[in-house]
Amino acid sequence: MTGQVAVIFAAMLLAFVAVVVTASPQGLVQPGIAFAFAGFIALGELARITLPGGRDAAPIATAGALAYALLITFDQVAVKHNALQVVAVVAFAMLVGVFPHVVAGRAPTIDSMARRLLAIGFAAAVFRGTGLDALVRGEDGYLRASVMAAIVAATLAVDAALAAAVRAGTDRAPFFAVLRNEARAQVGIGSAIGSTGALIALAASLMGTWALPLFVIPLLLTQFSFRRYAAIRATSLQTIRALSRVTELGGYTESGHSRRVSELAVAVGRELGMSDADLLDLEYAALMHDIGQLSLTEPIPGGATVVAAPADQRRIAGLGADVIRQTGVLDTVATIVERQAEPYRRAHHGNDLAVPLASRIIKAVNAYDDLVGESTEIDRRLDALERLRLGMAYEYDPRVVDSMAKAIERSARLS
């Protein structure tokens, strides 16, 4: 939580100082330009999207804000606003843009707004605060474009670092693992946003306000592609979640089992620093880990594979993997499901490192859920954990069991 609080606090402080300074001692410089960009940013904030993987983004608003920070000339007139005015205008526009969201009852995603404001503040400070803007004003377009590209790249890096600081706290994951995930997510949409920002700044020198509506159309297409991508990703997940309940409906497993296993497994995987792609595979595998039971003629009592004989467990896992492999597109998931029944370490075999981490997680989490089920009793949880710890050296990966214990403790505290 601390990262999130720090980012929001810093952004609010910066916005406050910027607004006060811009309002009283100096007044708004070139208000026409400021309002044009503010309107653009506010509209962009209105059209924010959720990226695949659940990240919040406002590509148009961010591109507009970056452009305002990097503006040198506007309609052949030299632009004179300073870095603090950039922050003030962007903060004002964000608030205006977020207002309709709040009215419509959608959460304002304050941390994402705060992070974006800080990143823009960074870009403005580097470009306008150091006199770099005056330096490149007389130079040729190629040099100006290069300087802007460098600043944009640095800004994206800062943005990713801030996002990681926030998420490391909320997701309980190691900072560098989250940073890697954030940076990877940033590469695609971030470079589109950044280059659009630089383009608007460059083109506005000649086109003036016209640069804004003209540049927004291509970025809208980019945004549209991402939205469709995010939608199909969400649909896939929802569908697998829904279809994973077939074993419950068919009486093979307890109700809610696969959902609980997948949630806990993802929490454990996060804590162990898995990448976004691996986490998605883990979630799919966890949801479908019992699908092999559909091939059984008689359901196992209570659906608890933990009480089945090891050979049977492995057979069910193999059957499930066969089904998943038939999709032809989920081979990694199939492998994870296949190896979920294998012990972490076999006697006299040393470390069996070939078992994927995701399989080890599912094995432990599945056993835990088979023992606890829907129960929220503390005693039952502790008993189950104790039983897993006893099997730790051979059956279960100690790291996984440790992370799981932490995740369970957290959720117990919350409930």
Binding site: L243, I291, Q326
Partner: protein, 468 residues
């Protein structure tokens, strides 16, 4: 190319004849009006950006990238230069067949010439300090003309080559690519502004900045298309796995989905709704898992309780998949697929028009497939017998419109019941992943490729499947 009809060849010949003199005239009349360096750079950009993107699946984005360079030529090179540049599209490696390349290049030349005429008639010119906003209008008009000429020529050749009506071509593919075409085309103006010495003066490096968002959009689109394919296959496989529980329903869901789609196409349903209906067909019996297997496979008379359990399956199915948001209309189709027109169906006893369209289509498809497959209590009937039975029940149990649609669809498509291996999923099917390119002639000689997995739809490709 033996499959290309004569009238299509004639049309291509006419377009080529109109196009051929244009570049010659342009070079002779206008060689001093444009910079050779700019022309070569733009030509490289055009070929590279089009070829890079047309390697994998072809769709609206691939043509769009080429149109950036083509449109930037208007202010940067002038009218003559634009026509000369259009010849570069002959080097875009989008098709192995000569006649298609000839057509594509010719139609691009014609469209470019038309756009240049409009641009300069409306007062367009090169980039200067006072270009804005006055340059936008001729530019947008030129873009619209280019898009229109291009679209008309391509639609006509598809129409002539495959007998698909112009309206279907428009609805199936072109309507969707127009947005991309216009949006990306506008980027041409921006590229010109950044490039031109009187503009931002960035020079050819501007292309990198300009193309970046386009490649990102392209990348996201590819991810989307791939995920869409993966999704489709996953749903099919899982449904097939579920069906292994009941020997008699193997492949049933898949076939109901296929038959529903046949019906929907026949009554002219919109493509996005067809896609949704397909999933509804696929998932319509998912709720049967909640019905004990012994009831499903029982051969004798069902008791009241057993029948009540069966009656619940549409509701159970809906409960299970309710959280899949995108299905939307499909929910109603699943929920009500056992309703009857006379109100005697279940679970709600809706009648007539109260029954959602999806449900009426699925009901017919469902009944047809169960009649033509072996069940525990009887052997399979022939398709003809089943259709006669459906027609007998039309009006009381089934919607006559849907029954008629299935009858007419099956005249064109051979129905294969039960022969379909459940787990063999060949090729990939994309519900909307493969959008035919606006700028390129479709591939009539490569055989009908619509829905590789669908043995029934090989006879007549519709606009959805006009490209590979």
């Amino acid at each position: 190319m033996s499959t290309l009809p004569l009238r299509a060849r004639l049309f291509i010949a006419v377009v080529a004849l109109v196009a051929a003199p244009l570049p010659v005239v342009a070079v002779v009349a206008g060689y001093s009006t444009f910079s050779m360096v700019d022309l070569v750079t733009l030509a490289l950009l055009l070929v590279l950006s089009s070829s890079l993107t047309s390697r994998g699946s072809r769709d609206d984005a691939s043509i769009a990238l080429g149109s950036v360079a083509a449109m930037a030529a208007l202010p940067l090179l002038g009218g003559w230069g634009t026509v000369v540049l259009a010849c570069a599209s002959a080097f875009v490696n989008d098709s192995p067949s000569l006649i298609k390349r000839v057509f594509n290049t010719s139609q691009v030349v014609v469209a470019s010439a038309a756009s240049a005429v409009v641009y300069f008639l409306l007062g367009g010119g090169g980039i200067t300090g006072h270009s804005f906003p006055f340059l936008i209008w001729p530019f947008v008009a030129a873009l619209a003309v280019r898009c229109l000429v291009n679209g008309l020529l391509v639609a006509t050749v598809i129409h002539l080559a495959q007998g698909v009506s112009l309206r279907t071509v428009w609805h199936g593919t072109m309507a969707r690519s127009v947005a991309g075409y216009v949006g990306y085309g506008l980027f041409g103006l921006l590229l010109a502004v950044l490039w031109a010495p009187a503009g931002a003066d960035v020079g050819p490096a501007a292309a990198v900045l300009v193309l970046m968002p386009l490649f990102v959009a392209r990348w996201a689109y590819e991810q989307y298309a791939e995920q869409q394919r993966a999704y489709d296959r996953t749903v099919r496989t899982l449904i097939a796995a579920v069906e292994t529980k009941d020997l008699y329903t193997r492949g049933h869901s898949e076939r109901v989905a296929v038959a529903s789609v046949l019906i929907a196409r026949c009554i002219g349903m919109r493509e996005d709704r067809v896609a949704s209906l397909r999933y509804a067909g696929m998932l319509h019996d998912v709720g049967k898992l909640g019905v004990p297997t012994r009831v499903l496979q029982k051969t004798g008379q069902l008791t009241e309780e057993e029948f009540a359990a069966i009656k619940l399956h549409p509701v159970r199915g809906l409960e299970m998949i309710r959280e899949i948001e995108f299905l939307g209309e499909a929910f109603a189709g699943i929920m009500h697929h056992h309703e009857r027109l006379d109100g005697l169906g279940y679970p709600m006893g809706l009648r007539g028009e109260e029954i959602p369209e999806f449900a009426r289509a699925i009901a017919v498809a469902d009944a047809f497939d169960s009649m033509t497959t072996t069940r525990s209590y009887r052997g399979a009937r022939t398709a003809e017998d089943a259709l006669v039975e459906l027609q007998r029940c039309a009006g009381s149990q089934f919607d006559p419109v849907m029954v008629a649609a299935l009858v007419s669809a099956l005249e064109d498509h051979e129905w294969q019941s039960e022969t379909r291996p459940v787990f063999e999923i060949a090729g990939h099917d994309s519900l909307e992943g493969a959008v035919p390119s606006h700028d390129s002639i479709s591939a009539p000689d490569e055989g009908p490729v619509f829905d590789h997995d669908d043995p029934m739809s090989t006879a007549r490709p519709t606009a959805m499947g006009t490209t590979s």
